[in-house]
Amino acid sequence: MAAEFEARDFHARGVQIRNLRVSYQTPQGDIPAVNGVNLSIAPGKITGIIGESGSGKSTLAMALMNTVPRPGRIISGSVVVDGIGDMLTIDKESRRRAHGRHLGFVFQASQNSLNPLRRIGAQVLDLGRSHNVKDLRALIKRAKELLGKMGLNADRVLLSYQHELSGGMRQRVGIMFALVLDARVVILDEPTTALDMLSQASVLQIVRQIHQERHLTTVLISHDMGVVADLADNVVVMYGGELAEQGSTEEVLAHPLHPYTQGLIKAIPRISGPLDQAVALPGLPPDSAALMAHGCLFAGRCPKRLPVCGESRPTYESVGQGRYVACFRVAGHD
């Protein structure tokens, strides 16, 4: 039924994350991967979540869908998606239906999420059937429309197996799968990591376009400050499973408050301006011992460390107009 698709609501949906804790069980004990995260994802905006490996950004993305794989476990908290409810408490069947239909997800390395033995078109039909889509013909039509928009030859792609597609093409196919059921919230985990610059730029352009056309709420997870700075409206910086700073992209880049954010921005090799502006960030990301310690997670690498930073962890405080930061150096802490 075509009407099924036409009855789109154009209210973008927000996501409220409260006190989210996820930990991984290891022989050395439980390691917190996401540690008490509170975050409101603004409806209709692109929110970029940036962090390095081990920062918990991908775990956070999986927790949004309530699909954290073992040995990971969601300890506490809530993830309320407008119009669906708390992803962490709704029953299994509603959750399954929410995936794809309301929440679209593009995995990191989307080549690994496609079935190598079935043609792309057949996989679109599988997805439709598992979500009880009645008009499969219309579904294929929408898949074609999306692929066409992304500069692909839709007929050819639907008849292909995943190994016949290049990395950039697969990434676009992944985006098509996330959107074909008309999801309102789309989570992209490292959508451009394995791509070269030109493919990256065109995938980002596609995400930007589709986001606008469909009034989506987009969450972009990346380790690359450049990608986030180019695409996102808001930036959230994660470090060691906690939020370090957030705000509008322009604000965070022009006036970063957390020393980690400051260091990350300085460490980007730039295409213009003086070269010696780029300074490497010293030290290493926190290990499990640092995660368990009492002090600030960044204290070991921080050039602006105070005595208090080694003793207790700064709380994540609002510093006005959508800006939050967890740092003793910033006013609002005492």
Binding site: E52, M197, L198, A201, L204, H223, P269, A278, A280, L281
Partner: protein
């Protein structure tokens, strides 16, 4: 001191049901790397830039062309001799995890090549120890903290430093870094780039830097040469800064446009354009411009005649070269 002339590499056709035509991965590429100099190759995946690095490191043999290293034509040498000679060129690849044996400690990984050299030079195990500490210090690692560790116990940045340290054990004249930082965490990436830059400036090791990221090529390749490669051919070359400031070829402009703009710190270049990536599979006849099917500025002449590389210091292969300002500019507010 390294001179490459008319380098060409053709991968032979595969016959049979799934057969395809011979693939010209590299076509008539010429460049030279001066002592302690730097040359960067940029281009997208499949452009042939990796093949150039592999040929130089002796992992592929060129189909034709000459490689001169310090006045010696390497391509004419017998294989065994060539292999030894090409030790002066060390390749650093993308994935430091694959480059290190997971079952061997760092001490063993560095000890293996050092033992071979020690035997050749008649040195003892004390010499090996000194060398090992020396190369680790050069890459900014405290030997005591890593020697007994296995690769998985180190961060990506440290692993890549170990790979570089291992390359340094043989006293190379040239490092070929092929996407050497693309798998390393961002906060550690610049550190490795700086290391490559320092090795060049402090120890006179030349650098062939292969990447798709123009900004990192700019960082390590200060005062160096930049080669833009498309489908195996150089389509623009010259001093790095000059190409970034005044790119002539639309493909170079596309690559530069693709560099993300840092909102809040930079303004996009006024002529920036984001090209949709076209189909790579099509075969392009020798008589037309290689880039013409994807070029937003292509004209009739581009479909009739292939442009040759023209110019000396800053060369380009385009019939209608126009400088476009595609690179982001730094906002005034940045202190």
């Amino acid at each position: 001191m390294i001179e490459i002339k008319n380098l060409t590499k053709v991968f032979p056709a595969r016959k049979g049901l799934l057969g395809h035509d011979a693939i010209k991965a590299v076509a008539n590429v010429c460049f030279s790397i001066p002592e302690a100099g730097s040359v960067s190759f940029i281009g997208e995946s499949g452009s042939g830039k990796t093949t150039i690095g592999r040929i130089l490191a002796g992992l592929e043999t060129p189909s034709s062309g000459d490689i001169w290293i310090q006045g010696v034509n390497v391509t004419k040498m017998p294989q065994a001799e060539r292999r030894r000679f090409l030790r002066q060129v060390q390749l650093i690849q993308q994935d430091p995890y694959q480059a290190l044996n997971p079952a061997r400690t760092i001490e063993q990984a560095l000890g293996d090549p050092l033992k071979v050299i020690a035997r050749e030079r008649g040195q003892d195990s004390a010499w090996i120890q000194t060398r090992m500490h020396d190369v680790l210090h050069r890459v900014g690692i405290e030997p005591g903290s890593v020697l007994n560790k296995y690769p998985h116990m180190l961060s990506g940045g440290q692993r890549q430093r170990i790979v570089i340290a291992r390359a340094l054990t043989v006293d190379p004249k040239v490092l070929v870094a092929d996407e050497a930082v693309s798998m390393i965490d961002v906060s550690l990436r610049l550190g490795v780039l700086k290391l490559l830059k320092d090795l060049r400036e402090q120890f006179g090791i030349s650098l062939l830097f292969i990447t798709h990221d123009v900004a990192s090529a700019r960082y390590v390749g200060q005062n160096g040469q930049l080669f833009v490669i498309y489908k195996g051919m150089v389509i623009e070359s010259g001093p790095t800064d000059q190409i970034i400031d005044q790119p002539y070829h639309p493909y170079t402009q596309a690559l530069l446009s693709a560099v993300p703009v840092l909102k809040g710190l930079e303004n996009p270049g006024p002529d920036r354009f984001i090209p949709l990536r076209g189909d790579d599979q099509e075969l392009i006849p020798d008589t037309v411009c290689l880039y013409q099917p994807r070029c937003p500025f292509a004209q009739t002449k581009c479909r009739e005649e292939r442009p040759a590389l023209q110019g000396t210091e800053h060369a380009h292969a385009c019939h209608f070269p126009v400088v476009r300002r595609v690179v982001a500019t730094v906002r005034a507010n940045e202190g």
